[in-house]
Symmetry: C2
Subunit: 351 residues, 2 copies
DNA sequence: TTGCCGGTTTTGAACGATCAACTCGCTGGA
DNA sequence: TCCAGCGAGTTGATCGTTCAAAACCGGCAA
């Protein structure tokens, strides 16, 4: 059929060049620097590119350009998997927006005993130009190492230990919880307690401050009831029960996570009360579990975070300021007081 | 320090060769065909590889070998996201076992309007050698296209339309549900109903057959009560309520998914009954939601499936038979009749 | 005529690895 | 004595692309 594929397997830039009657470099220019090619030549070349369905060989480009146009994303085996799948979702959204930045994403799983080695290895193989960090821990060794070695990266989540860094996107947990408090107050709940993680976790502390500032805004002074629990359902249930004992009627509980909120729901039930009608409950992350339990929850704009992460990574000049995204509140039955038709909620569910 | 990096940036095979006093090809052989290198030379070369922390440049290898040692995995934006994250988990486990097969995984998100184009493009770029399919739909165009173009692939999930294919791993839904039926019978539930998807979905039909065969094994004859619902919580709840009306005391409901099971739990509550003690409920997939709701559920061995997928993909000769994995049952309160500390470890109520 | 200019296109080299063919020294059978 | 055969190691070519520099070319001023 086509003399072009005479060489065998794949269609290369040379096949296109011959078909269009130009040199390989002109084809390359047509694709990468169209302004350097005469208009009619350009059209002819692009027509052949189209016709032959030419796709440049990525490895050859990477080798010559000394750039992979790819970034690494660390995934972890099921062990330290939390309730909810915010990070899975973030990975998916990163992948979706990758082509818009002429890049792709490489998932990799470093050895838990030496995470840095995994990063070093992946980088040295030339498969990636940099990394997208997520789930930034306290005393996280990764930012330090990456900076020392001049490796580009962005982080989903502030780099708490190094406030001078600006290359991150995060969701404003403080604002999210503050919004939840306002919503509860507007819905008529009279007392609003906090069920959070033990202090020391930067994310948890930030969310808690949102709650405290919300109360201040409402004019509440003095000690407000709080309880603490680690990320475990039974423990959260117990903590929530103790919290309930200290709350008056028409109270609500704002929680640092959906798992804690689930514990709160159970505690409310155990007290013979009904979530929503008797006690408001709000969670954080808007996970599947929240949807299934009709739990009002703070929703993170993950897709937007992913897009911004790419911007920061690929066009570092244009977007240099750190970005703090505003979460939204997904309102469901657990924070609605007049639950007509209890058990079947009137709140529309997201898919 | 080291004369090796005189050339500048990265450490190449030539640097290692000079340091070890051999030619580049010998270094290559030492790494790829150690048996072709004399023992003492081998040791000397490997020592230098270690010392200089040499990592071969993946693009260069890929270009020369005409092989990417990478496989594509399709991810989809949040739209058609289902309850549970089996596929996210599968992706993670694939990534974890990738290095064991000297490969890696590339996530990509095809245009939903022309999925095949995404596959063609990804393949043509030379970034991958083949694909891992998951979530094989009915009348799925992908296997057809891949076969026609001689592209290697495995599938997580049988390729239902083409029974002659053998390149897949799957979890035996039939056996999983059968095991659930046995468990329920052994736990003392006297009547076991089925809450499934409308027939026509191969996965759902397979699971349903597991239930039917379980009943047959127990000696149940005649019509047993079933109900159908699409994957939607409210609809599932309604279907389960109708099913409950037709079940006697000490009954149990086996469901085709955790979402359906969640509907069943709500229906049980709406009838003033308690899951587990009064009505057994079993779901499928053992998602976060199941764990949170104390729902007994059929658990898929995802990590094992991922490992086998790599085997089938990378060493096609050694493992040629299709593999059907046995799921396990994660037993929780929703299928335990004597809920001793009721309220604590028992099933939380949905609102 | 010559020289130079700017836009356009082509040619040689290189990215870093592996494949294929070759060299070298040695052994052993005819 | 000769040379086929073998193990160990080397060298040249190559994968497909882009960079850098050179070549081409019509036009226009000197």
């Amino acid at each position: 059929m086509q003399a072009d594929e005479s060489r065998g397997g794949r269609t290369t830039i040379v096949d296109v060049a011959e078909a269009a009657g130009v040199s390989r470099q002109t084809v390359s220019n047509a694709l990468n620097r169209p302004h350097k090619v005469a208009p009619d030549t350009l059209e002819r070349v692009l027509r052949e590119v189209e016709r032959l369905r030419f796709t440049p060989h990525a490895s050859a480009q990477q080798l010559r350009r000394q750039r992979a146009s790819a970034f690494g994303f660390e995934v972890n085996p099921s062990g330290h998997r939390r309730l909810g799948h915010i990070l899975d979702e973030f990975l998916v959204e990163l992948t979706v927006s990758a082509p818009a930045h002429a890049s792709h994403l490489l998932a990799f799983a470093p050895d838990p005993d030496d995470v840095i080695a995994g990063y070093r290895q992946t980088l040295a193989s030339g498969l990636v130009d940099g990394f997208v960090l997520a789930d930034t821990r306290h005393a996280d060794p990764r930012p330090q190492w990456l900076i020392e070695h001049g490796v580009p990266f962005v982080s989903f989540g502030r780099v708490w230990d190094r406030p001078e860094l600006t290359r991150w996107v995060d969701v404003d947990g403080h604002a999210g919880v503050l919004g939840a408090v306002r919503h509860l107050a507007a819905s008529g709940y009279r007392q609003i307690g906090w069920l959070g993680w033990p202090s020391g976790s930067p994310v948890g502390d930030d969310r808690r401050r949102g709650w405290a500032d919300g109360l201040a805004e409402l004019g509440v002074t003095g000690e407000a009831p709080t309880a603490e629990s680690v990320q475990d359902l039974d423990e959260a249930t117990g903590a929530a029960e103790r919290l309930l004992d200290r709350l008056g009627p028409d109270a609500a509980i704002v929680c640092a996570s959906d798992l804690l909120a689930l514990g709160a729901l159970r505690a409310v039930r155990n007290h013979g009360l009904e979530p929503g009608r008797d006690v408001g409950v709000v969670g954080f992350d808007d996970t599947d579990v929240a949807a299934a339990m009709q739990l009002t929850s703070v929703h993170q704009p993950v897709a937007e975070a992913a897009r911004i992460a790419w911007d920061l990574l690929v066009d570092p000049e244009t977007t240099s300021a750190p970005v703090l995204l505003e979460p939204t509140l997904t309102v469901r039955a657990s924070s609605v007081r007049d639950s007509a038709g209890a058990g079947r909620s009137s709140v529309p569910e997201p898919p």
